[in-house]
């Protein structure tokens, strides 16, 4: 909630994320080539498995076939040929990992993580026959996404967040204009639709805790509750419109909300979304649902909680959608379970969609459906909390 935001220059943010991803993943390299005479210098990683030694002569690899268990594996490559070489592990034509520029007489270490399967290894000159590397299954380390795998999803997520903030600003303008014009019914109708944009990107918005408090705090957060001067934002206006049934005195809150949302939009524009914030965001959104939306405590004056409920789900599902190819590869069962629970929750909520758009009020939710939502929501919270670990993100 109150982390220092990662503010990096505007338009280049996505590029910066890509460049910075190395920070979040181990690269597997442990330094450059070392003289063969001093192999221990390539040590350093005491925890790494004992290296598999491969010598490369002028004609071939020795041995030409290797078998290793899946997961983290370390190779010690000894260049016994007359020329500098690069040693590659290949899957078809794709280079899975490589160690470049090993001088004659030198040794290099390569540590990498391999999934089960059959790979080729290069052995000096391209005309030399390739060796075979068999990686056996058993307990494969979860396939962690590579650095580049996450760049696309993060860039797309940034586009999604930016779009939601734009819509938030636009809809908040319309909502507050109605408030200030004293159009009570119109303001009431515009309240929930404006909020959903905020609720969809709540984990990102909450990176700015000062604005989150100003825009979205509830009366509970303040000692004097509704009368507290610190109580501002959507719920303060909601209180006026729905509990007091009046737009009177709301103009200052309307102006402040517009200003705070504009500030949020400005800050998000220059925000580089770190991978852990995007991936963890799915879990954060479901925690929101589990802790307050499911009990109808969020929109206690308007009872529009189901709008927020769906918006939190939408935001989480967006993240899950963007990551699905990676999740599916790393843990298909987890991916299936998440999808199934989202479907269950969406289906129950769909019963409460109103004809005019949006949702019925929270009090229409039957105790049976309220209970039926609890299980899948809690299971989603547990499963989504495993997403970062599954994808190997710190």
């Amino acid at each position: 909630m109150a982390w220092k935001p990662w503010q990096i220059g505007g338009a280049v943010a996505v590029v910066v994320v890509a460049a910075g991803l190395g920070v979040y993943f181990g690269t597997g390299d442990e330094g450059g080539p070392t003289p063969a005479a001093n192999p221990s210098a390539s040590g350093g990683a005491a925890a790494a498995p004992a290296p598999i030694e491969v010598a490369v002569t002028d004609k071939a690899c020795e041995p030409e076939t290797l078998t290793v268990p899946a997961g983290k594996v370390s190779f010690r490559i000894v260049n016994k040929s007359q020329r500098a070489l690069e040693w590659e592990i290949l899957k078809g034509v794709m280079v899975v990992d490589e160690r470049e520029n090993i001088a004659p007489g030198f040794t290099a270490r390569l540590t990498t993580t391999l999934e089960p399967g059959t790979y080729g290894i290069t052995c000096g000159l391209l005309s030399n026959p390739k060796g075979t590397l068999t990686v056996t299954g058993g307990a494969p380390a979860a396939a962690k996404p590579s650095v580049l795998d996450l760049v696309g999803p993060i860039a797309e997520y940034k586009v999604y967040v930016t779009g939601e903030v734009e819509a938030l600003a636009k809809d908040t303008e319309a909502f507050t204009a109605a408030v200030k014009a004293g159009k009570l019914d119109e303001a009431k109708a515009l309240y929930a639709p404006a909020r959903v944009h905020y609720e969809r990107i709540e984990p990102i918005a909450e990176l700015f805790s000062d604005l989150d408090a100003a825009i979205d705090s509830r009366a509970d957060d303040h000692e004097k509750k509704e009368a507290d001067p610190g109580f501002t934002g959507f719920h303060r206006i909601e209180y006026g419109l729905f509990a007091r049934n009046s737009t009177e005195g709301l103009a200052p809150f309307a102006d402040k909300l517009v200003a705070d949302v504009a500030d949020l939009q400005k800050r998000i524009a220059t925000l580089a979304i770190p991978p852990n914030k995007m991936v963890g965001g799915a879990a954060d959104l479901i925690e929101e649902v589990a802790s307050s939306k499911i009990s109808g405590e969020e929109d206690r004056y308007s009872h529009t909680d189901l709008w927020d409920f769906q918006a939190n789900l939408d935001g989480a599902e967006k993240i899950v959608d963007l990551l699905r190819p990676l999740t599916r590869k790393a843990d298909p069962a987890l991916s299936d379970r998440i999808d199934k629970n989202f479907a269950t929750v969406d289906k129950i909520l769909a019963k409460y969609r109103a004809e005019a758009g949006g949702f019925e009020t929270y009090d229409k939710l039957t105790p049976e459906d309220r209970k039926a939502l609890q299980g899948p929501v809690t299971a989603l919270a547990e499963d989504l909390a495993r997403l970062s670990g599954t994808l190997g993100i710190s």
Partner: protein
């Protein structure tokens, strides 16, 4: 620290109780229970008394009289109850009666004894929760007062301790008015929740027209052993809480950190007392249990299993933050680092923590309502709790915790002997 002499099964109990061990002296004097004993405790015996549970189960007791009240520099027992009251007395005389009476009840409850038996046509004198004879169970009842006691009602406005104020909300707080503040706070601790319930019911029954309960919260904690170095208890987030704490059994440390001294600019009556900050802090344990271990550890800055600062081996290893200026080992936002940045000139301790965990019902969203009764004592509230909490504002831990109640109080100085009462120097100032 002296310990209970080894038991000699051949020695009769009465003789053992007469042996000169300081705690046994107290035990011996109190063995028959009742008010007469209390007088005998006045003076030297009590003054020499140091806090600490004796290994005698239900009969163990803590000193009633002395320079300071028990329950502060007393090793933390297993059970606590924090009860805040509004004072209904309307005049200074009534307030004096209340404090006199309260002092008597506290002495009886802490010493133990047999309540009078009454004609069964009447309600009994005692709740009977501890049986026909009240056993002390290491009970301490620590009496503190809130800023509101110094309003116009009792003519005490000019005597308020200088830092005592109504607790204001920090940015992450969501204070519930019904669980905050109060004129009078009783911190009731013992080795048994029943003894705490018994004590509270005794007080409530004795002062029907003078006290009204405002809020209360039960707590529990891994008890701290007497002679062995106190193992640090864990909070309900599973982390050790209170690693960097002055030793409550080191009187010099307690004088420096906890007790108000002469020359601090405090009213004379307050010397020997202490500021007490109480914070009821809910922990969002479901969400916490769904948080990656490395994130949990980065939030606290400590290894969850050992309690060692990240990158170190043992709980009490001292991190050198000067060598970690970017927070690569212990993040700059880690709880332990914000609370105590270990910069030059920063005192080793600003406060003494004596917290308890709590667990009560569930929320409307079917989530567990549990967390911490944070309690700390200090000689200067502004330089102590308020300074540290201001440093913590905005910490990543806030995502998982929500302070909702508590308040600031001032622990009255101790009662020197049976002829005096709690708060006497204040009320007769």
């Amino acid at each position: 620290m002296a310990e209970t002499p080894p038991r000699d099964p051949a020695k009769p109990e009465a003789e053992r109780l007469r042996s000169p061990g300081r705690r046994n002296l107290l035990l011996g004097l109190g063995a028959v229970g009742g008010g007469a004993v209390v007088g005998a405790l006045a003076g030297n015996a009590a003054a020499a008394e140091k806090p600490g549970p004796v290994a005698d189960g239900a009969k163990a007791r803590q000193p009633v009289y002395g320079r300071h009240q028990s329950g502060v520099a007393t090793p933390r027992p297993a059970a606590a109850m924090i009860a805040s009251f509004d004072v209904l007395a309307t005049t200074k005389d009534e307030l004096r009666d209340l404090f006199r009476g309260l002092t008597e009840r506290v002495a009886f409850l802490m010493q133990g004894g047999t309540p009078p038996s009454l004609d069964p046509k009447f309600p009994p004198a005692d709740s009977g929760v501890l049986g026909p004879t009240v056993t002390p169970h290491d009970l301490t009842v620590t009496v503190a007062v809130g800023a509101s006691l110094f309003d116009g009602r009792f003519g005490l406005a000019g005597l308020k301790p200088r830092h005592l104020e109504t607790m204001h909300a920090f940015p992450n707080d969501a204070l519930v008015a019904d669980e905050c503040h109060g004129d009078l706070l009783l911190q009731i601790c013992s080795d048994s929740p029943e003894a705490n319930v018994h004590a509270l019911r005794d007080v409530v029954k004795h002062f029907p027209s003078q006290l009204m309960l405002r809020w209360k919260q039960d707590g529990f904690a891994p008890p701290q052993a007497l002679a062995t170095p106190a193992g640090t208890g864990r909070n309900l987030l599973g982390f050790k809480d209170g690693t960097v704490n002055p030793d409550p059994l080191d009187p010099a440390a307690m004088e420096r950190v906890v007790w108000v001294q002469d020359g601090q600019g405090e009213p004379a009556w307050a010397v020997g007392g202490s500021y007490q900050a109480v914070r009821l802090i809910r922990h969002f344990v479901e969400a916490w249990d769904r948080t990656a271990l490395q994130e949990q550890e980065n939030i606290f800055g400590r290894d969850k299993a050992t309690g060692a600062p990240l990158g170190m081996k043992r709980e009490h290893d001292e991190p050198d933050f000067a060598k970690d200026p970017k927070g690569e080992r212990v993040p700059l936002t880690a709880h332990m680092r914000l609370a105590n940045p270990r910069t030059k000139g920063e005192p080793a301790h600003r406060l003494f923590r004596r917290p308890f965990n709590y667990s009560r019902g569930i929320t409307k969203a079917a989530q567990m309502d549990m967390g911490l009764i944070f309690i700390c004592f200090q000689a200067d509230l502004a330089a102590g709790f308020i300074t540290v909490q201001n440093r913590l504002n905005g910490e990543p831990l806030e995502e998982y915790v929500k302070p909702f109640g508590g308040g600031y109080f001032f622990v009255l100085p101790g009662v020197p002997d049976k002829s005096r009462y709690l708060g006497q120097p204040l009320l007769e100032a």
